[in-house]
Symmetry: C2
Subunit: 586 residues, 2 copies
Amino acid sequence: MFRTHTCGALRLSDVGKEVVLSGWVQRIRDKGTLLWIDLRDRYGITQLFLETGLSDQKVIDKARALGREYVIRVEGTVVERESKNPNIPTGEIEIRVTQIEQLNASKTPPFTIEDNTDGGDELRMKYRYLDLRRNSLKNNIMLRHKLAMQTRYYLDSQGFLEIETPYLIKSTPEGARDFVVPSRMNPGEFYALPQSPQQYKQILMVSGFDKYFQIVRCFRDEDLRADRQPEFTQIDCEMSYISQEDILNTFEGMTRHLFNKIKGITFDTFERMDWHTAMKFYGSDKPDLRFGMAFVELNDLAKGKGLGIFDEAELIIGIKAENCAEYTRKQLDALTDFVKRPQIGAKGLVYVKYNTDGTIKSSVDKFYSPEDLKLWTDRFGAKPGDLLLILSGNTDAVRKQMNELRLEMGNQLGLRDPNVFKPLWVVDFPLLEWDKETKRYYAMHHPFTSPKPEDIALLETNPENVRANAYDLVINGVEIGGGSIRIHDRELQRKMFSLLGFSDQEAQNQFGFLMDAFEYGAPPHGGIALGFDRLVAMFGGQDSIRDFIAFPKNNAGRDMMADSPSTIATAQLDELQIALKATKKE
Amino acid sequence: MFRTHTCGALRLSDVGKEVVLSGWVQRIRDKGTLLWIDLRDRYGITQLFLETGLSDQKVIDKARALGREYVIRVEGTVVERESKNPNIPTGEIEIRVTQIEQLNASKTPPFTIEDNTDGGDELRMKYRYLDLRRNSLKNNIMLRHKLAMQTRYYLDSQGFLEIETPYLIKSTPEGARDFVVPSRMNPGEFYALPQSPQQYKQILMVSGFDKYFQIVRCFRDEDLRADRQPEFTQIDCEMSYISQEDILNTFEGMTRHLFNKIKGITFDTFERMDWHTAMKFYGSDKPDLRFGMAFVELNDLAKGKGLGIFDEAELIIGIKAENCAEYTRKQLDALTDFVKRPQIGAKGLVYVKYNTDGTIKSSVDKFYSPEDLKLWTDRFGAKPGDLLLILSGNTDAVRKQMNELRLEMGNQLGLRDPNVFKPLWVVDFPLLEWDKETKRYYAMHHPFTSPKPEDIALLETNPENVRANAYDLVINGVEIGGGSIRIHDRELQRKMFSLLGFSDQEAQNQFGFLMDAFEYGAPPHGGIALGFDRLVAMFGGQDSIRDFIAFPKNNAGRDMMADSPSTIATAQLDELQIALKATKKE
């Protein structure tokens, strides 16, 4: 038997017991006559103890031959520690060792297996199996398991069925960013890996499974941004005979359940905000509501006083940073530099300091009298000591810039506490986006997203004003999920396709079997998909998803541990009836 | 609101309630002044009722315009039925309809949505979304969900963590039957889809996650036998610091839990049988123990009497079919034809009838006296009325043939009741198989499977006699799962590789990062993988897995509904830097 207890189990009440433990050698302290070993497994650390004279010399010699990360099995007696360690649950006891068996040796690990390791990112990715021994990663993976279990508990309790959809699906002509898989049995033909089970889950609604979910892997072959993975996991859901309200309530319920079970946090009803409001006051369709600083518009107050940059601007907006009037020139310059960075692109930053002595000082004093500026501070509801930060320009651009500045100020002022959670439904997204280059409308969500019934008439006259039955779940400024009520009416679907410039044939090519299925009695339905990696990272209080995935890939889509992707044998290519193209000289 | 109740919910106690239901029109019966509609959803069927004079004529007209599989929403009152239907839970009530809203029309389905449909296999695969509306398929998919949930409940309760492993993994030179995925970001390089997460789960053991599981999709690009799928689902598990006994107990516990929760069946301890016994008495490593008919060996009694076929045979074995002495010549000829079929390959069949009057009649009376044959029936423990069926030949071949005959007799005699379950652990598999063609040993399980410690010495002298710490879970003659204790000792691993003819370099190529990981303290570990599709089919009382998968592929690996795989655009091939080979003329 390898163990009677785990390394996290023993307490003062176990003193006197004969036990067997197995695990990894975390640390050895050899004080000559006394020798301690910290033994580690998934459950914790237990201190082992040997003493010259008291312990068998052969066992002591075995202990001295051990190294870090050796795998051992020990027998011994639980005794009370003389100097207790209050920082670990087993800190009151240690094991007086009578037997040691070395189960396996270990090379010296290339970095320390500690909470604060000395290993760099690259090294830890290559030796992922060692990195996963560290508490932080181990806890992330355990958190992921818990979240998946609780998600399933909840949805099962609500009558949802988890139904597995295929991973080898149909490749469509428009399937850019599809990973494809050559079929040996059908030479010259390919499967695709799903970017999402969207069509299959809608098919399941046509089949009558009115509450579907799946925690499912999805794939996207795109140039990876900082925190994207070519394969990622989604909580994918769809319901029939429901309205948008039913979906919001169901998944609000699920989210509350998760926060309650995992973090012991309860919420009042989630806030809701329509898309236009979110853009107007936060410049983002995923506002972080852990702090205020909603945008204040100043066009009427700021224009017409001779300041060119304002007079020419489509929109002038500001945010109020409370108690920041004491910001130094250096701090203000740094903020100006921040908004002028190319990825943000503002031309400059105007500030107004409402000093604690009641005076007002701004970077545009030449153009505005103290009385003018008082009107500004009044509109912000500012009090002495506050700082106003103001940007101007084209509406869409300036809102995006101000969003970045607002988030930066939130960071600087410590207003984005990872232990505070502010969930929000953003609703009433526009149905369509106009693309200036191709001069046509695109579906903002996808072509099956239904318009709000009261806006259908606008499809003919003002398509850009049509609101969709689409919604996003946003927590702390992160888009956790999104979905929509789908179109199930064929007449409306035809109208949508024609607005989007799809011919019947194109619609058939791209959405083939789903279009066919819709001929046989599609029920009203809608759904949502939540990014599971993102959700776990949020519960773990971190921004990056990478350390919440056991075996992630790097930004080039490579698995550093397995050294994948890799070349394959010519024989295998032959069997698949494909060939590599000669790579162009560069 | 689309519904206040589902179509399976209403009972006599609901009479008088105003309700709203939505669903599909299963059937319309129009008797002139009376009109009934069966309304169906996932939960059941509810009868709707309209009557001229009593119901609004406009509503009646709407009802008359409906067709099969139309989607409707109705309002009405629950009333007690005059003629009750005891076969369905809602059979005591019907809905007196006051409003009908047609939510969607439907073309006439190409086959009937009934338990016994008129649709052929091909048609039903093409219109899978309609086939899934049928009770039998719907119930299979719901059963699958329940089994997956209960599997997770159980393993979670035992401290297992579900950990997701990558689907885009490393392609290995020896990875025949791998599906591969060209990488756009790494031109000329490929990922592979996993045939199983074997290496990753062993890595997780090295990482210290001592109890891992995953319900996971696996992929194999092989010519499909009758009941294989290119993608299939596995319950994949691995444990550290355990012996074979721990694994058997854990997964016996899981299997009991599933049978208990899903079917209300409890078991005594599962039977165990070593591989040699299974082969000797059942001619199969997955014997169906729902019935007896263990093989009886007759070499000593049957040889030396002048019957050439027996005298030349390596092995003479028989089975006893109780109460079958009355089998007619025609029945016996049919059995002879059965064993002579090319896929079975016996030369003939010898029978011995132990008649109810005590006389013995055989097909080899010319060679054996009644006294000779009495010795045979005694060895079988036969009683008057029993029939012995005897085959002879090369040991391995005749056992395989007799296995087929035994199963056939089990079928004919109704001894293989799909509602009876006989789980069995087959243990002590041989570690190695000798391949006559390539004249080398192959690992019967895989090269990391550990030999039994007491057999290690035989590795040098008698490799074919070494037994492995490998085990299969067999239920009713079906292999539900299998696994092994892995080698974690590097010296032993090196010996195994050398026996299998792997050079160090080859081992490194094929098992790369796992070999590396093993340098850093691999714990003793082992695992098991259960075929989930097969398990669900067994719980559903069926042999074929296809109808327990929502969207299966056919024997050519094609998805008939989606018409996949398919060709992809040249532009996409270009981006992946691959080209199709001109197909050879045939």
